[in-house]
């Protein structure tokens, strides 16, 4: 009797954990940070400008981080080639604009291509080795080098320029100047993240994908085609990555190395939020973007060489306090 009661309690705890591990201190901390940013922005125009620019940067980190999280949740692996796949798709969009397509036509066509690309990568390269995590990781490393080589071979390593998606205007509100570029980036990434959320939360396909990621065997038993769902998941992740790539292009321009730093920040953002949590990845990305911009503005020691170490220092501190990220759930270990 006691044994049964204990089991039920454990199962309850487990299901509650899956729902999300948001703890009250974390929420309070985030609210405090938001209030700090708001007050600071009202007091100082430079602070406000840096915050908005940081949010735009952070939105890019967030979308790439989210694509990493999508793949991690489905297959428990980290895709090292995620940034390079995004870079390749951005080059494809560039090629389309060379063929006289308008920017936004090229944008959406590139997203479609990214979906196919991601799904094909999963089916052709990842599926054959998916039982071994280390083999999958090595394959993505190989893919990283391969894509880099192919892109450099086809388009060359020199800088390329695409038409500016949002123009170069600057809006003035009071004494604060917001660039249209930053606002546009923020808008596009937020919309794509929201669309993805709707897909996962409110559609049958999304439900099937969540089931396939969470309990592959049980999902297969109720008729979900697990393998197909995984391929679609990789496709969607590639689409999100492509959004990040296309939104990175206006600031660093087109070059084969454009996504490498972004990928590292996206790693940091994803781990910061907890690798299992999509909301965590988005908040982690935004927080990281704002934090790096503000610290670059106000702390003299934090020069651009230290941007990456600082990002990872923050990551290390957060992980030491919460080893599974801000929103991650504790792993239940079975002996």
């Amino acid at each position: 009797m006691v044994e049964i009661a204990r089991r039920i309690r454990i199962r309850e705890r487990r299901t509650r954990n899956i729902g999300g591990g948001v703890s009250i201190p974390v929420v309070l901390f985030l609210v405090a940070a938001a209030i700090f940013l708001l007050v600071g922005s009202l007091v100082s125009p430079i602070f406000a400008q840096q915050t908005v620019a940081g949010l735009a940067q952070g939105a890019i980190f967030a979308s790439l981080a989210l694509s990493l999280v999508l793949i991690y949740r489905a297959t428990e692996v980290i895709n090292f080639a995620q940034g390079e796949m995004a870079m390749a798709t951005t080059y494809f969009a560039y090629q389309l604009t060379l063929w006289h397509l308008s920017y936004w036509a090229a944008f959406f066509l590139a997203l479609l291509t990214a979906f196919v690309f991601g799904a094909v990568v999963q089916v052709a390269l990842i599926r054959p080795v998916q039982h071994s995590v280390i083999a999958v990781v090595i394959v993505t490393v190989g893919l990283f080098v391969l894509i880099d080589g192919l892109v450099t071979w086809k388009w060359g390593a020199d800088l390329k320029f695409m038409p500016a998606p949002f123009g170069n205007q600057v809006y003035h509100i009071g004494s604060v100047a917001f660039s249209r570029q930053d606002l546009g980036t923020l808008l596009v990434t937020i919309v794509s993240v929201l669309l993805l959320w709707v897909l996962f939360k409110f559609t049958k396909l999304g439900l099937a994908m969540r089931a396939a990621a969470l309990r592959p065997a049980s999902a297969a038993l109720v008729g979900v085609r697990v393998n197909r769902m995984l391929a679609i998941g990789w496709g969607l992740a590639a689409v999100l990555g492509a959004v990040a790539g296309l939104m990175t292009e206006p600031t660093v321009f087109l070059q084969p190395t454009m996504m490498q730093a972004v990928l590292l920040y996206a790693f940091a953002a994803a781990v910061l939020g907890g690798l299992e949590s999509p909301a965590g990845a988005v908040i982690g990305g935004l927080a990281l973007g704002v934090f790096l911009n503000l610290i670059g503005q106000y702390v003299g020691f934090a020069t651009s060489e230290l941007r990456l170490p600082i990002a990872f220092g923050v990551l290390l501190i957060v992980l030491l306090i919460k080893p599974h990220g801000l929103f991650g759930r504790r792993q239940v270990r079975r002996v």
Binding site: I134, G149, T152, F267, L306, P309, G313, V335
Partner: protein, 319 residues
């Protein structure tokens, strides 16, 4: 034990003989390449102790190599220390650094540990840029004397031999058993009296020390220059690829993994790919993917499979 041990000794003697006789056949350039094999051998061996035997994933061994490399370069540049003396120094400093990294790493496992070590690999070279007055910035810092190819060959392979012996001695005894038990099940290991924190940090220390020696030899192999670019993320990934090709938890595979990553860039740049300098990356990536698709468990897995073929009967003792 006896038959396998004899086979092992024979293979080892043959390998050692080849290594000793090889310089008589090679010119300077190829001696440099062969030295690179030894350097990667040491690094992959170190990673294998940590990942293959103790089950702690690291994708940041480039960082430990950077520590060792910069130790050699700084000591030689500022203090004109004998290059041979800098090697044990690099070993000691990287060992200490590995222990320090191992302590926070106790809190992480699996993919989180992998990403924290990755963060390390990304961050360490940046400090060379930040403190450019002392560490030379992006131009790097050079040792006061540069060794010849033959010197490098002899020293690297000697180090590789000594460290292989060290690894074998560590892994065959009580410590090795503790490492393997941690890999197989941390809870079971703790229950059987293995003090997890001590052995986990120790594994990190040893592994980092090996990588440190590899790093300082690596610096000597690039004309004595320690440069942040050389120790970038890609180096860490290369070592990881080497370890994966070698297969985890086997000392024999390490040599093949080391040969693979040391020679692949040279081999792949010699493949003519429509007259492009960047064909190298394409071939490199393709080969890495192909090897993983064909041998997902690396060469160690292949050896295992060969051993279990009917007709070859050996008694498996290790897990």
């Amino acid at each position: 034990m006896t038959r396998r041990f004899l086979v092992a000794v024979c293979v080892f003697l043959i390998a050692a003989g080849v290594v000793v006789l090889l310089p008589f056949q090679l010119d300077g350039y190829h001696e440099g390449l062969a030295a690179k094999v030894a350097i990667f051998f040491i690094a992959v061996l170190g990673l294998n102790i940590l990942t293959g035997y103790t089950g702690q994933i690291s994708i940041g061994h480039g960082a430990f190599m950077a520590i060792g490399g910069y130790t050699t370069a700084v000591m030689s540049h500022y203090h004109h220390t004998n290059l041979l003396l800098t090697l044990p120094l690099a070993f000691a400093i990287s060992f200490a650094f590995g222990l320090i990294v191992g302590i926070p790493a106790l809190r992480f496992s699996g993919v989180y540990l992998a990403l924290v070590t990755f963060a390390l690999a990304v961050s360490v070279p940046q400090f060379a840029l930040k403190f450019s007055k002392f560490l030379g910035g992006s131009n790097g810092i050079q040792t006061s004397t540069t060794p010849t190819h033959l010197w490098l060959y002899v020293v690297s392979w000697t180090c590789a031999g000594i460290l292989l012996l060290v690894a074998w001695l560590v892994l065959r005894g009580r410590t090795g058993r503790a490492f393997r038990s941690i890999r197989d099940s941390e809870i079971a290991a703790a229950a059987s009296g293995v003090t997890l924190p001590i052995y986990k940090t120790l594994a990190f220390g040893i592994s980092a020390a090996f990588a440190g020696v590899a790093g300082s030899l690596f610096v000597l192999a690039t004309n004595g220059f320690a440069q942040p670019n050389e120790f970038g993320v890609f180096l860490s990934l290369e070592i990881l690829v080497g370890a994966a090709v070698a297969g985890l938890g086997s000392l024999w595979g390490v040599l093949i993994g080391a040969i693979f990553i040391a020679l692949l860039p040279t081999v792949s740049s010699s493949v003519p790919l429509i007259g492009s300098a960047h064909g190298q990356d394409v071939v490199f990536g393709l080969i890495v993917i192909a090897v993983m698709l064909i041998l997902p468990t690396g060469f160690a897995g292949l050896l295992q499979r060969l051993r279990s073929l009917p007709g070859i009967r050996t008694v498996e003792k290790e897990g």
